[in-house]
Amino acid sequence: MIKRLFALLAALVFVPIATAAPAMAYEPVNIVHTEHVQVGPYGLTVGFSTWPVRAMQSLDFTFAPDGGLDGKTGTFMRTGPSGSHTRPAPLVRHPRKRDVWGLDVFALQVEGTWKFDFTIDGPQGHGAGTLSGLQVLPQPGPPLALSWVVCALPFVALIGFLVVVWRRGNPKRIEPSGVPTGVAAG
C-alpha cells in the first residue's frame, strides 16, 4: 500500500515534468503577422506572434517605429469591444526583443473588435494614430464556465469542510461533554 502511494506521488510529480519539456525554453519573439499604422509623421509596424488573435490566448505584440526607437517615446491605449479602454501607458521595450516596443505574453480577454491608439513623440514632433478593426476570435478551449466549475471544486470542498467544523464547534454540543470551548479559557 505504502509503495503504491509513493508511486502515485512520484507519478504526480514527474508526469508533468516529462510532458512539459518542450515548454522549458524562453521562446524567441516570432512575428507571423504585421499591420501598418501611421502615427502622425511616424510609420509604425504592429507585429503579432499568433494570427488570428483569439480571446484569452496570450501572444507577443511588437510595436516597431520606422527608423528605430532612438529619440522616440510613445504611449499606447487599448479599447475593447464594449468601448471601455485602458489609460494611455508609456510604450516600453519588449523584454525579449529589445530593439522594438511591445507587450510580452499578453492576452486580449474578450472577443470582438479591438482598437489600439498610439502617440509618438520624436524628432519630427508629436503624432497620433490608431489601429482599428482588430478582430479577436472566440476563446479556445472548453467554455469558461466549465473551467470555473472544475477549478472551484477545492473552494467548495473547503467551504463544506468549514461548515462541518462549524457545526462541531456548536457550544450546545460541546458543553455537555465537558470539553472546554476555549472562549473562556486562558
Binding site: A20, Y26, V92, V105, Q139, L158, V165, G169, I174, G186
Partner: protein
C-alpha cells in the same frame, strides 16, 4: 516525531509562500514564463514537502494504532478514521495531505491551461484560483497541527508561524472577487476579515493572552523578509538567465508583501485588549483599523488608484462589519481547534 512532522509541514508551506511571492514578482518585473522556473519549483516543492510529511505522519500514526496504541490528539489533531478505518489520520495532517495532493492534481490542470491559452500570467485564472485554494488548504492543515500542540512551546511557536503564512496567502484568492460591484474595496475588506478571524482564532485556540500579538508580530517579520527577499531574488534570477528587467517599472515594493496590512499588529493589540470585555467589539474595532489603514496603504505603495473619500468611508465601515464577522467566526473555529474528542468519518 511530533515536532519533526509539524516542522516539515511548516517548512513546506513557508517555501510555497516564498515561491509564490517570487513568482508573482517575476511576472511583474521580468515576464516570460515556462512551467519550469525556479519560483515554480519552490511552489511545487513546498507542497510536495508538506504533502510527503503529512503522508508520513499518517502512515506512522496508522501503524502505531494497528500496534494497539491509542492515537494522541495532541499529535496533529483529532484522529480521523479514513477509508473505513484503513488509515488513522490526525485531522491536521489529513487536511494538509489532501490539500497538497489536490494542489499537484490542479498543477496538471494549470499546465494544460497554459498550453491552450499561453503563459499570460493572471492571478485569477480558474486553475490559479484552484491552486491558491489548495495551497491554502495545506496551510489550514498546518494551523490545525500547530494548535493541537498548544500546551507545548513548539506548538505555540508553530502557531505563530503557520497563522501568518495563511494570513499572507489566503487574501491572494480574494483577487477572484476583484470585479464585484460593491462600493468598497473588496480586497481590503476580505483581507481585514481573514486577519481578524485568524487573530481571534489564535487567541482562542492557544488560550493565552498575547497569542494574537505574537502572531501579528511574526506576520510583520514575515512581511519584512518577503519585502527584502522578493526583489533581490527576482533581479538575481533575471540576471542568471540573461533576461532584462522590464522598462518603465515604477520602483514599487513587491506585490505580495505590499498586500499585508502594515497595521496588523495594532489590530492584534486591540483584539487582545478587548478580548475579555467583548471579542466581537474588539474584532469590529480591529476591522475598522485594518479597513481604514489598508485602503490607504494600497495606493500609498502604488498598487491601487488614489482612494476617494466615499471609498475610504465605505471601506472603513465594511472593514468594521467584516471585522465583527471575522471575530464571530474566529471565536467558534478557535474553540473547535481545542476539541480533542475522537471522530469517525
Amino acid at each position: 516525531m511530533r515536532p519533526i512532522g509539524a516542522g516539515f509541514v511548516l517548512l513546506g508551506t513557508g517555501i510555497s509562500l516564498i515561491g509564490t511571492s517570487w513568482d508573482v514578482q517575476w511576472h511583474i518585473d521580468v515576464g516570460p514564463d515556462t512551467f519550469f522556473t525556479l519560483p515554480h519549483l519552490f511552489i511545487y516543492a513546498g507542497s510536495a514537502i508538506a504533502g510527503i510529511a503529512a503522508l508520513s505522519v499518517v502512515l506512522a500514526v496508522t501503524a502505531a494504532q494497528r500496534r494497539g496504541e491509542t492515537p494522541d490528539p495532541r499529535d496533529g489533531g483529532v484522529p480521523i478514521r479514513v477509508f473505513g478505518g484503513a488509515f488513522t489520520a490526525p485531522l491536521g495532517y489529513l487536511v494538509t495531505g489532501v490539500g497538497a495532493a489536490a494542489f499537484l492534481l490542479y498543477g496538471l490542470t494549470d499546465l494544460w491551461w497554459h498550453t491552450v491559452y499561453g503563459f499570460d500570467a493572471v492571478l485569477n485564472s480558474p486553475p490559479h484560483v484552484a491552486l491558491f485554494t489548495t495551497i491554502s488548504i495545506t496551510m489550514i492543515g498546518a494551523v490545525i497541527v500547530a494548535a493541537s500542540a498548544r500546551e507545548q512551546r513548539w506548538g505555540r511557536i508553530a502557531m505563530a508561524i503557520s497563522v501568518p503564512v495563511l494570513m499572507t496567502f489566503f487574501p491572494i484568492t480574494a483577487n477572484a472577487f476583484q470585479g464585484l460591484p460593491v462600493p468598497f474595496d473588496s480586497i481590503v475588506v476580505a483581507t481585514a476579515l481573514i486577519i481578524v478571524l485568524l487573530l481571534v482564532l489564535t487567541r482562542v485556540a492557544i488560550g493565552r493572552p498575547g497569542a494574537a500579538v505574537a502572531t501579528a508580530a511574526a506576520l510583520l517579520v514575515m512581511q519584512g523578509i518577503l519585502w527584502v527577499f522578493t526583489p533581490l531574488a527576482t533581479s538575481w534570477y533575471a540576471d542568471s538567465v540573461g533576461l532584462p528587467m522590464r522598462d518603465g517599472m515604477g520602483g514599487e515594493p513587491s506585490l505580495i508583501p505590499s498586500g499585508i496590512p502594515l497595521l496588523a499588529l495594532v489590530a492584534a493589540v486591540v483584539i487582545e485588549l478587548l478580548f475579555r470585555r467583548g471579542a466581537l467589539v474588539g474584532g469590529g474595532v480591529a476591522g475598522l483599523v485594518l479597513g481604514f489603514s489598508f485602503v490607504l496603504q494600497r495606493p500609498w505603495l502604488g498598487y491601487a488608484a488614489p482612494v476617494t473619500t466615499v471609498e475610504l468611508i465605505a471601506t472603513t465601515i465594511a472593514g468594521c462589519a467584516f471585522g465583527v464577522l471575522g471575530a464571530f467566526l474566529g471565536l467558534r473555529f478557535g474553540a473547535t481547534l481545542r476539541l480533542r474528542e475522537k471522530v469517525t468519518a
